[in-house]
Structures are given as C-alpha cells and as structure tokens.
Amino acid sequence: MSALPPLAQYALRLGDDSLILGQRLGEWCGRAPALEVDLSLANVALDLIGQATHFLGVAGKAEAKGRDADALAFHRDVLDFTNCLLVEQPNGDFAQTIARQLLFSHFQELQFDALTRSSDAGLAAIAAKAVKEVTYHARLASDWVVRLGDGADESRARMIAGLDWMWRFADELFVMDALDAKLLRYGIAIDKAALRPAWDARIDAVLAEATLQRPAARRPVLGGRAGHHSEHLGHLLSEMQFLQRAYPGAVW
C-alpha cells in the first residue's frame, strides 16, 4: 500500500471506513428488532456503500493503474484495508451496533463538513453530497441511544455495555499520522484532531439526554490506518469478497 500515491491512500481510508461499516450494517438486513429498524440500518448501509464507491473510485483514479472501486473493494486482502478499527467491530446486540453508529456518524458528519472545503474538488464534492445523508445517520443513532439509555433496565444495561465496548476505538478516529499531516499542508486532508472538541460536545449532549455517563477512559486501540486489524475484519471480508474470490471477475 505504501506504493500508492498519497491522495489514493487518503481516499482509500475514507472509502474503507464507509465500505466496512456498510457491510457490517448490511448483516442486520432481515434480522433487526423491528421492521422500521431493519429499513433504517439497510438505508444507512446503502448510503455508506455509495460513499465507498465514490471514494474508492477517486483512489483508483489517483493510483492510475486501472483499478476501479470494485477491484479495490473485492480484490484486496485484509492487510491492505486501512479502515479504522471501530467500523470493523462486530455488531453484537442492537445496542452495541447503535453505540458504534453514534461514535462514527457524529465523527463522519464533522469530517465531511470539513472535507467540503478540501482543495481536492473530487473529495469535496463527495463530502458535500454525503454530509446531508450522514446528518440522518447521526440523528438515528442519537435517538436510539436516548431511547435505550433512558429506557428499561435491560435496554439501559445493554446500551452501557455497548458504549463501553466501542469507546476504546474512538480515539483512533482523530489520530493525525504522517499522511494526514502531509496532505493537510496541501489543503487536501482535514485536521481530524481539531474535530475532537465538537465531537465530544455532541456525544456528551446525547449521553446527557440518555441519562448515561461517559464510559471510563481506556487505553486506545490503534492500528487500522496501517493495516493492523482485529481478527474480525478477515471474517467480514471472507463473506463480502466470497463471490469475487470464488469466481474472479464475475459480473452481473
């Protein structure tokens, strides 16, 4: 991956976050607690996969070796994925899924809002389009955190456990590494670290309404951007990429 041009690497990260979370949410299709939830999660998944298609398309063009979004999604192995660890976490129960969505969608909304001002017109256009959809995702997650957190004893206990599990993966969202710093100088990348106060304020507001406490601070788990993933990602890819692995190049 280090051979990829910086813009391709950056677009790949954005695309991988969306792709992996989209695939995760797709696992709920037909299995969610209620029909409305099923529709919601599938719709969010669809938006995310749409984002991924655009970002991976940018990555493929920047690489200029003929790989399109499909090639990048289906013909890379686990070490080549650069998504954050949060999005690959298993769905767990509904509360755990919602906890992951809360942390990620609020981050993504802030990230895309900033990315609309990127000096790269392609990335800015995708961000401007997607940020409107992500507003809905963040609201969906926030509403459910409040409903479950300020709900019955069982739902509250599950919401607390879900947040507690996902919390350790939040810090990685805001890490600025050498690639981020380099592209920030050109105005292409955004300053993710600078989003933290706004994100904290949003999350705290939702938790307060849900009558929940912030989970205890934990040692952050990092590594996704460098391809160091949890075991979960390999299993996710084995399902997502099955068809292209079994029948390379198959088309509709």
Binding site: E36, L39, S40, A42, N43, V44, L46, D47, L48, I49, G50, Q51, T53, H54, A121, A124, A125, I126, A128, K129, A130, K132, E133, T135, Y136, R139, L140
Partner: protein, 154 residues
C-alpha cells in the same frame, strides 16, 4: 434545436422508483447541450442511479441521439429543492408528501409536520425516518389514519 428536442425526450423518461416523476421533474438533469446531457445522482448510494442513466441512454438512442454523451457530476450536490413545482404536484397526486423546502439544517431535521397527501390534514406523525427507498420516510395521518410516504429533505 437538439437541446429542446432532448428535453422533450427526457420529459418522458420516468424515475424507476417513483414512475410518476420524470427525470426532469426530479431535478437530476443539470444541463442539456447539443453533445452531452449532464446528470447528478440523488442519494449517494441510490441503486436507481445506474438504471436512470441506462433509461436515459435508451431513450436518447431510440430518438436518434446516440451521439449525445451522458456524463455524471456530483457537484453541486443534488437537493430535494430541485424537484420542480410540477414534480411536487405529481408526488402529491401519487400519494407521496413532497419534501419540506429549504434544504438547510432545520429542514433536514424534518421537524415540520408533513401534510397528508390523501386528506390534506397536517395532523400527522413520523413513523420511521427511513422508508422503503433512500429518499422516503414513513408517516401516518392521524386525521384519516392512512400511512403515507414522505419524500425526505436532502
């Protein structure tokens, strides 16, 4: 003139998910030139995007405009405000409440009550912010008790 003829052709190309609307009503045709039609997707992940492009291609080919290219642009991003007045009327007649206008932050929250497309009452409630397609939310009219779709503000 080629552009005005192309416009007439596009007026008859329906949206695959809401066939009451043409692609022109929906506001996804951004520019019509003699050599190219520029379109923009509605939702980032809308599965109809590819189908729409194919439908436009087929309609143009059939009318002798095979040389006219179709290009897609993301910027500026499509907004539900671009649905024409005629399109909003067609949505209502089809049983879908048109989206709130002014796609700013306030409208995106969809807090203004929808007007029931059947009985016209605004005594309505949102059942689910996500509906049967990416562009619709599910609502219910408390006056006539009928459920209905509302086109989401985007």
């Amino acid at each position: 003139m080629a552009p005005s003829r192309i416009r007439e052709i596009l007026r008859r190309v329906p949206d695959p998910e809401i066939p009451a609307l043409s692609v022109l009503d929906l506001g996804i045709v951004r520019e019509i030139g003699a050599g190219a039609v520029i379109i923009t997707p509605t939702y980032t992940g809308c599965p109809a995007t590819l189908v729409i492009e194919q439908a436009i291609r087929a309609a143009l080919d059939e009318a002798g405009f095979a040389h006219v290219a179709i290009t897609t642009t993301l910027s500026p991003p499509w907004s539900s405000d671009w649905i024409s007045e005629e399109g909003r009327e067609k949505l209502r007649a089809y049983g879908i409440a048109p989206p709130p206008q002014g796609a700013g932050a306030a409208a995106l929250k969809n807090e203004t009550p929808a007007t029931c497309p059947r009985c016209g009452s605004s005594d309505t409630e949102e059942l689910s912010r996500f509906g049967s397609t990416p562009c619709k939310a599910l609502w219910r009219c408390k006056a006539c008790a009928e459920p209905f779709d509302r086109f989401k503000c985007h």
